[in-house]
């Protein structure tokens, strides 16, 4: 009987600890967070912890209050990602500098195994993105899958070093709600930029 109890205990603890959609942010009954601040559609409901290019631990909710511009990439990618990164840089260059303090430009790796914080750091330096408002995030395999699913980004590992993935740049308002998505490469950034400026202006 004792053994059985132990196995039940293990099972339950295991189930809790492996769950990426844990209880912290979305458990209203415990009052760990204030649900009235976060809407149901906010990405701040995702409780996963991420690591930045500077090895800082970040929970998405810490970005609360800023307009987020996000893209999912991997650093060993030779084809689409450099163009996505270029798109991100073009977007940033067209935002009035005074608004940048309310904006975070985020690149999330879909290849956490290869993209260590060190690697993200050198990628940031190479691409002149090692400063505000740029932020690189590395999660676990599971939190990346969750996050991609929230963004409706599709990706598949097709060889040890390569992924195929959809090319989507997403804009979130200061509450973490999806406000705009731009799909495709080298598309007209006008709408995306207008949306970012509109959202950031309300925060001034």
């Amino acid at each position: 009987m004792k053994k059985l109890l132990l196995s039940i205990a293990t099972l339950v603890l295991f189930a809790c600890s492996t769950s990426e959609l844990g209880d912290s942010a979305i458990d209203s009954e415990k009052g760990i967070s204030s649900p009235e601040e976060i809407s149901e559609l906010s990405i701040y409901n995702l409780p996963s912890t991420w690591t930045s290019q500077d090895n800082d631990q970040i929970v998405l909710k810490e970005l609360n209050g800023k307009v987020l511009v996000m893209v999912m990439i991997y650093t060993s990618c030779k084809a689409a990602c450099p163009r996505l990164v270029a798109d991100m840089r073009r977007i940033k260059d067209q935002i009035p500098p005074e608004l940048l303090s309310d904006i975070q430009m985020i690149l999330v790796s879909i290849d956490p195994e290869t993209d260590t914080p060190e690697r993200l750091k050198s990628f940031a330096i190479e691409n002149h993105m090692n400063e505000e408002p740029w932020l690189f995030l590395r999660g676990s395999m599971e939190s990346v899958r969750d996050f991609a699913n929230v963004l409706a980004v599709k990706y598949k590992k097709i060889s040890p070093l390569d992924f195929s993935h959809s090319n989507i740049i997403s804009v979130f308002n200061e509450k973490g709600e999806l406000a705009h998505q731009q799909e495709g490469l080298g598309v007209d950034n006008k709408e995306t930029i207008a949306k970012i400026i509109e959202l950031a202006t309300t925060l001034q």
Binding site: M1, L4, L5, S7, I8, A9, L11, V12, L13, F14, A15, C16, S17, T18, S19, L21, D23, I26, D27, S28, E29, K30, E40, L41, S42, I43, N45, L46, Y74, C77, K78, A79, A80, C81, R145, D146, A148, N149, V150, A152, V153, K154, Y155, K156, K157, I158, S159, D162, F163, S164, H165, S166, N167, I168, E183, G184, L185
Partner: protein, 256 residues
């Protein structure tokens, strides 16, 4: 952690001394891994699946009810929209009451990917990958790979044309080579990496046929277009989002 211990206490106190988890947690069969060519692969490349154990039946309404009673945040009125859309458990009467017409032994549908994943995780299990699911889905009653058999394919396609099979109870279709019921014939099933399907020429505009536009170009393409049934499954996976709760989409869990 405190939460976990709290849960543990509830589990122990609620008298579940002789049962670990829900009804069918022990009801899985071993699948011997193998290598096969799925519908969509890299230039008809082979896929290797490791050994795993799979639930014999899809998860039922009754089992899902136990789950939401235990994990309140997955009840209809509690679940947040990021994780499940407005169709979540649509046919239920209330948070913990099944609808009149629902058999508790029928496969649960109108559940999202997030909720299915959490259900499995809370049992120490996980959702199958597409490669795992398609591997066992090749099997007829007697053969591991029956994809070349016209009767087998016809059976699946006939089902796709028949509405309302989801109201039947689990176990009402055939038992396949592995001992799994209802892989075909009742409901479609969520897979862990359903969002890895990028179909060339699909309507979403970010998916472009030009191979230069993708990292790892030429990643996808139909390697066996004859397999129309599988094509339909991939098309569905390519078009759903993780918070969709669809009428004919259920799930089952696997374990390594």
């Amino acid at each position: 952690m405190i939460k976990c211990i709290f849960r543990l206490a509830i589990v122990l106190l609620s008298g579940l001394f002789v049962q670990t988890g829900y009804g069918q947690s022990g009801n899985a069969v071993d699948i011997i891994g193998g290598t096969y060519i799925p519908l969509y692969g890299r230039d008809s490349s082979q896929v290797t699946v490791s050994d795993f154990a799979m639930d014999v039946y899809p998860v039922t309404h009754g089992e899902f009810l136990e789950f939401v009673i235990k994990y309140k945040k997955w009840q209809r009125s509690e679940v947040i929209e990021l994780f499940a859309d407005g169709n979540y458990l649509l046919d239920w009467k209330g948070d913990t009451i099944l609808g009149d017409k629902i058999s508790e032994n029928a496969p649960v549908t109108n559940i999202s990917w997030f909720s299915a994943k959490e259900y499995c995780s809370c049992q120490g299990k996980r959702l199958p990958t597409i490669d795992e699911w398609e591997y066992v889905a090749m099997a007829s009653e007697t053969k591991l790979d029956a994809r070349q058999e016209s009767t087998f394919n016809q059976y699946i396609l006939d089902w796709y044309e028949r509405p309302k099979q989801k109201n039947q109870e689990v176990g009402s279709t055939f038992k396949n080579y592995w001992g799994l019921y209802d892989i075909h014939g009742l409901v479609w099933e969520w897979t862990y990496d359903f969002n890895s399907v990028l179909i060339s020429g699909e309507s979403r505009k970010d998916v472009d046929n030009d191979s230069d536009l993708f990292c790892g170009s030429a990643a996808v393409g139909a390697s066996d277009l004859m397999n129309y049934a599988a094509f339909m499954r991939y098309a569905i996976r390519g078009s759903v989002k993780a918070n969709y709760a669809m009428r004919n989409l259920g799930f089952r869990c696997v374990k390594d």
